[in-house]
Point group: none
Chain length 288, copies 2
DNA sequence: AAATTTATGTAAATTTTTTTCTTGATGATT
DNA sequence: AATCATCAAGAAAAAAATTTACATAAATTT
């Protein structure tokens, strides 16, 4: 299943002028594009229907209707992927901006995520004796916490630290078979990189999620690269968080699959504790 | 956004025999149904094309192609919602699944977010003397941390706690003008609800992000309702997190706008500390 | 059992989409 | 600068898909 919007963005340069006009309409108003007939779409793009057909073919679709189906399947609602410099001032606009940006980050991530490194990371973690998650500075400490939160449920021993000194000390105690997960948005966390090197020296496997070619990425056995520019608006919360959380989700989910039989029992136990302790509804997610 | 598969399941009884044959094919082989022409679909169901058209109309679609589009839209999500474990076994599919789900959660959130309550929450927080963020249990404690992480940057005094006893004790110390932010996915956190009531009794304003009509939502001055069902797959990470983080983002961003002049200086200070302490690149998000 | 409603197919009409063919533009080569 | 090749894009025709209108069969009600 290929992501048609991603394909379109990639192919954008190779399109002729008329085809780019069509593409822009598709980007701007997916709602319309999905529901329009070839004639309506052609009309709005001020091109002829055959041009639309050719446009679809160029994107690897066999027909216009196949294109529409694929477009409909790419469930992304983000209206515009280019950063609209936000001068959002009322709540409604802020909601739109934040949600669109979050979706757009996830969308970019889709093209960017490096499958082989994710597989390797999940493999290493699934077989780890102990997993340490290191991250500091608000965002990355949150990620580290999230790694722990995800993994302990799967019956793995996991511990998160956001304290540089603790990271360094912990790194000195690792054993063969342990995995250290290093998290950094910028990749410029010198203390983290030092801790990872120490842990590596003592035989731990180092998995990171960070900016490629960065300091932290260097100190790594497996890096899952994430490279997203943040906008300039200092007031705007950083949306890289969504990307990191999604990446952690993906790895955790893969670990869960790999550990399936090992993971079910701890999950069942956690759940039964929560349910008997709190209330009878068991359709809730694990852990509030 | 209407879920055509859900509609179909509900309407099943009201369908004629021929129409049920069509419905079964749609259920059994969505892949086929989404890509087939009306003639192919009619052929496979052994009915005539007009019967298919009538079938689409009965489901509230204006035409066959509208039906296909709606099916395609729900098919993608549906496949993954229905049988996530069987489907997602390799890394690529897991990536698709997680990202699609996250996006679809954000999409739902867009329809669901209650603007007035967000405005009120942001107002209360922007003018708070002190903000406490309470949440427990992995996910919500992460949210509480996030609230703190967002707000202290804006020059607000903020403190997050995930410890029930601490929440209760803290609640006893609040003063007029303080805001307590309560976070819970399920809304069934009895200890949290008690702590909120205590804090309310001592004059704090209570803001929550939680499921509407829930225990926690009751104990509230302003609730931002979030109500998302989680899938059944216990192995699958809960994607409600994306919704909560987005909601927190929105509120924090609004607070930032409301406090603009007050917020710029703390942000500048944090940034200059980080930059001089760490390195020269100042295009990075605040706090790794 | 007759009358009425409902379901469904056939055939025609309409709409949509694709193919074919032509024109005009652009650019490289002599 | 003239010629040729290539490509983009539309017009018109052809094909395909879809819908409408109508007719008949089946089911249900009276």
């Amino acid at each position: 299943m290929v992501d048609i919007i991603g394909t379109l963005q990639r192919e954008m340069d190779g399109l002729s002028r008329s085809e780019q006009r069509i593409a822009n309409i598709v980007f701007d108003d997916r709602q319309f594009a999905v529901n329009a007939s070839i004639i309506e779409l052609a009309g709005r793009a001020e091109v002829s229907p055959p041009t639309v057909t050719r446009f679809c073919r160029r994107l690897g679709c066999q027909s216009f209707s196949e294109f529409k189906v694929r477009l409909a399947q790419s469930a992304f609602i983000g209206q515009r992927y280019d950063e609209p410099q936000s001068n959002a001032s009322n709540a409604e606009e802020v909601v739109q901006t934040i949600l669109t940006r979050a979706q757009s980050v996830l969308h970019n991530l889709n093209d960017q995520l490096d499958i082989p490194s994710i597989e390797q990371a999940a493999d290493a973690i699934a077989n780890a004796k102990m997993v340490y998650a290191f991250g500091s500075g608000g965002n990355s400490s949150l990620f580290a916490g999230e790694v722990q939160n995800r993994l302990f449920r799967l019956g793995l021993r996991a511990m998160a630290t956001n304290d540089h000194s603790m990271q360094l000390m912990t790194a000195s105690t690792v054993q063969e078979g342990d995995v250290v997960v290093g998290l950094s948005i910028s990749g410029r966390n010198r203390e983290l990189s030092r801790a990872l090197e120490v842990a590596s020296g003592y035989g731990a496997k180092i998995v990171t999620i960070t900016k490629p070619q960065s300091l932290v990425a260097e100190a790594t056995d497996v890096n899952i690269p994430i490279d997203l520019q943040e906008g300039k608006d200092v007031l705007r919360p950083s949306s890289a968080r969504f990307a990191f959380l999604a990446a952690i989700d993906v790895v955790a989910h893969l670990v869960a699959i790999k550990r399936k039989d090992l993971a079910i029992e701890p999950l069942r136990r956690i759940k039964s504790q929560l349910v008997t302790f709190r209330d009878e509804d068991d359709s809730q997610p694990l852990g509030d």
